[in-house]
Symmetry: C2
Subunit: 562 residues, 2 copies
């Protein structure tokens, strides 16, 4: 190894080591074993402390069961595991891929298998993974349920055969709501090292998939590093690289160039492609009177091409070729909404819905090829127009999973668009959207840095979880309940450890009450020791208990009186 | 003036001067004149730059009209005005109060006047204020509409006669959604200087009312400073001071002590009182099996009192006395939800709704006394249970305005509860909630500092505005449209200036593209110069224009063909 290589490796390792700090104290990595030894579903177990204050004198000190949470960080979340980013992650899924290739009856894709009644290891894996926290509840997620949802087109497992480093996950409205994080460099800033770091960072804070939206130089190399080190599915927008290849001149794009890019990315292992095949030539003029025209990059590139050639989109015309290619690798299609609204003013207009109906047609074509499909959605939508988006998508796209960016519920708060869009994301998630594409505080302003990625992810994990609660997901409320009980019992450390972001929760608490003794204090800084409402309401239980006893006694006496 | 006094004054002035920086560049303070000279409604006018890029060569450079926005910062937002915090603000409303006292037919309160068909200067003021941005639209807000809403109990103008420094504002679901910010010291931390600074800071970022929730020493003095310097209505929870007065022992509270506190606060000028008169003795046991019991401080104090005395709440028993006192000063009642849920698990339970029904009864009693009323609401509610809160409140409380804390839509993100609750706040605002009590990132963890107050307010201004849009408020979308147009035309400075927080928007942009030249660049850092979708879609307009011409031509030709 040369000195330069050594330095480079040390550098690469050192940034990963910065990620392995104790972000999640009192957490351990555990696994659920499936029917085969190599089906091992990782999750994080948060260990809780005992209830300190006895409900009644002399009673046994109650312990609190640990809480198990879904975890996307894979080996990066395993203590002691060192990842050599130059070699990439272990190819844990390689055997399953091999088995599929050798076994003709599986068919090329998860959808093909599902339709043939075959439960793949990936399906079993996601069933166990989704089931976390609801094993003891009625209606657990079974592998058969997963298979059926995939067969119906209501859910997808994005898994390129050439990305065996990934851990299977499922996107569909009858499962936990998922979150995607966009990373990727642009020609203006960013570096490869930063991108891999962002990937690891994103999975630490809960990204279920990531999209590599690189537009600058070294697209291919960046993606290779990301894929080889990514435990989550990776999506791309291939038109970006195709445009790069023709020197940034949209008019110079053509099908052979695009196809070449698709093949290269497919070969590398990209799990899902965003394809803006619904931007038809005739829809372009529908956007002419919009306040913000076409804001999707892919959409505007294709619009420009159609205008220059006065011809129909080559993506639309070659859609069957695209499907054939995707089927070969089991790449899922994420049908892009190139005409999504870019402002409150443009929400739910004819351009948007005209494209949506075409995406519905394309969905059925993809299904002919056993290709898994999801549909991308807006964007910028005021609250009262969000449900219509979900309703129209379900109706026209035959219940294929919906995957939306936000939507932002107002345009007036640049710098806070993780919040303007978190509101819309939570709502559309509750209405049935299967995956939420995060928005960072830098949206509309600049490229997100590490802090922004985290801020965006936390906001979206909140939105996704709020949606899971609203949908009545049986296991979702367990974490809320554990937190609420810890809060009621003044178990401060448990409150921090149960939080989506223990680091920040602890730091905020310590800002006001830094002493260690306050971590077990029966009060907080909001009210101080005298006023604590939680403390008072503990006394209610005893009082109510007594009163109920008295009532029972009174009732008994009265009965013997009559 | 002594040296100490001088130093103290200098200190007080210096912290206010730190607030008068250019937070809102290109903004001017303007006024709308009403029917009388002393009805002067302040607002902020954001001046916009011209559209730089001509739609067609040779056309006139289009200018963009300024945008007028609602502004609660009063003199603190007027350039060049120096406030001597020791003397307090000018008592601009004093003449109106005098007129009311001299004119028997007005009645004691805004509600009394409204019922008698009288349009007060306060009503005219709020009509002009609410009307901002919709003067040219159909259905402007008229003073008569305001009067009618108040008469019906659907809206309130909280204005204590003894707080003539305040600028009238209205709370009701047929008006703009309002935001309250809680400030106030506790026994653990904070100082008077900090509290006045927080007040000014809160109004700068859009607080419509503030609540002084001080629980520590110097409650009276803190409140005096706040009231004399507050241009917005000030609310309190008088039970906190009453408890302080009896040494923190809830059992030692009694009606004479409480009444004394009410009178003192009324005399000082508090505009609305939170009174937890709906926590009845019999409801306490309904909370015994909750996960988080009673989390409202006022609620738990009263529960403790009821338990200790095995008696009915003195607030409930003396409610008519409270009303009589409030009527004298025109203090509005904010009927507290002492049994609001403190966790997702406890949302919408019988304890909560039993209390809500009592608040409905109390509303009608208050109205007998011409006292204005609003109703406080939760708390912690998952998304799918939010609408029921609004529906039940409207039904049982006779359409009195609803004023909710959040609600938080999940418990799992301490450190981010401005977001967990911003989601719920936006939703309940859209359903008809009139005022949203902000939640800061420090909720459940510590006391908010200046940054937290700002974070909380921005999140809640987003929620309130998203709700205004969803409710179809005619003027609301003007700001979104101005922002979107500026975005589409690459007017970066205008985007910053139109933002809720121009400072942050600009800082985020400059982080990636610091050069001044990039403020007029036709691209942003997200895509870089080659890829910009906005730029491409500008070309669509010209193309569509041409195509439409061709179509018209073709159509004309065809017609002559046939």
């Amino acid at each position: 190894m040369s000195i330069t290589q050594r330095q480079s490796r040390q550098q690469a390792e050192s940034f990963l080591n910065t990620l392995s700090g104790s972000y999640f104290p009192q957490s351990t990595r555990e696994f659920i074993r499936g029917s085969e030894e190599d089906i091992r579903v990782p999750f994080r177990r948060i260990h809780l402390s005992d209830t300190l204050h006895q409900p009644t004198p002399g009673s046994i000190m109650p312990s609190n069961p640990p809480l198990d949470v879904y975890d996307t960080s894979s080996v990066y979340g395993e203590p002691g595991v060192r990842v050599d980013v130059r070699n990439g992650l272990e190819k844990r899924r390689a055997k399953w891929v091999e088995k599929r290739k050798q076994n003709q009856e599986y068919g090329p894709t998860q959808l093909a298998s599902a339709r043939r009644g075959i439960i793949t290891p990936e399906m079993e894996f996601v069933a166990l993974r989704e089931n976390l926290g609801r094993e003891d509840l009625p209606n657990p997620v079974t592998p058969e349920f997963v298979r059926n949802e995939i067969a119906a087109g209501r859910a997808i497992i994005p898994v390129n055969h050439n990305h065996p480093e990934s851990e299977p996950m499922i996107i569909g409205r009858n499962f936990l709501v998922k979150v995607n994080a966009n990373i990727g460099n642009s020609s203006v800033t960013s570096s490869i090292k930063e991108e891999v770091e962002k990937l690891v960072w994103a999975t630490r804070w809960g990204a279920d998939t990531i999209m590599d939206l690189s537009t600058g130089r070294n697209i291919h190399q960046t993606r290779e590093w990301i894929l080889r080190n990514s435990p989550v599915p990776v999506g791309t927008v291939p038109i970006y690289q195709a445009l790069e290849r023709v020197g940034g001149i949209a008019e110079d794009l053509d099908w052979p160039t695009f196809r070449q890019v698709l093949e290269e990315q497919a070969e590398q292992g990209v799990d899902y492609f965003t394809i803006h095949a619904g931007v038809l030539h005739d829809f372009i003029s529908l956007t002419a009177n919009r306040v913000t025209g076409i804001v999707s990059r892919g959409g505007s590139i294709m619009a420009k091409w159609c205008m220059a050639h006065q011809a129909e989109s080559f993506l639309y015309l070659h859609f069957r070729d695209i499907c054939a290619l995707c089927a070969k690798y089991d790449i899922s299609l994420s049908l892009g909404d190139g005409l999504r609204p870019g402002s409150i003013a443009d929400a739910n207009d004819e351009a948007q819905f005209a494209e949506l109906r075409v995406l519905g047609e394309l969905t059925q074509i993809a299904w002919e090829y056993d290709v898994q499909v999801m549909i991308e959605g807006p964007g910028h939508v005021p609250m009262h127009k969000i449900k219509e988006n979900m309703d129209e998508q379900l109706k026209h796209c035959h219940e294929a999973p919906f995957y939306t960016l936000g939507p932002l519920t107002t345009d007036i708060a640049p710098g806070y668009d993780h919040i303007t869009s978190g509101i819309g994301a939570a709502m559309i998630g509750a209405f049935g959207c299967a995956m939420l594409c995060y928005v960072t505080p830098k949206e509309h302003l600049g490229l997100p840095n590490k802090d922004d990625v985290k801020e965006g992810l936390i906001a979206y994990k909140i939105a996704a979880h709020a949606a899971d609660l609203a949908k009545g997901h049986p296991g979702a409320q367990a974490r809320d309940d554990a937190m609420s009980k810890a809060r009621f019992e003044f178990r401060w450390e448990d409150q921090f450890n149960l939080a989506l972001d223990p680091v920040t929760a602890r730091a905020y608490h310590d800002e006001t009450l830094p002493q260690a003794s306050n971590k077990t204090a029966q009060f907080c800084s909001m009210c101080g020791p005298k006023f604590c409402s939680m403390k008072i309401s503990h006394e209610v239980r005893q009082y109510s208990g007594n009163r109920i006893d008295i009532k029972v006694l009174n009732a008994a006496t009265k009965e013997s009186d009559t």
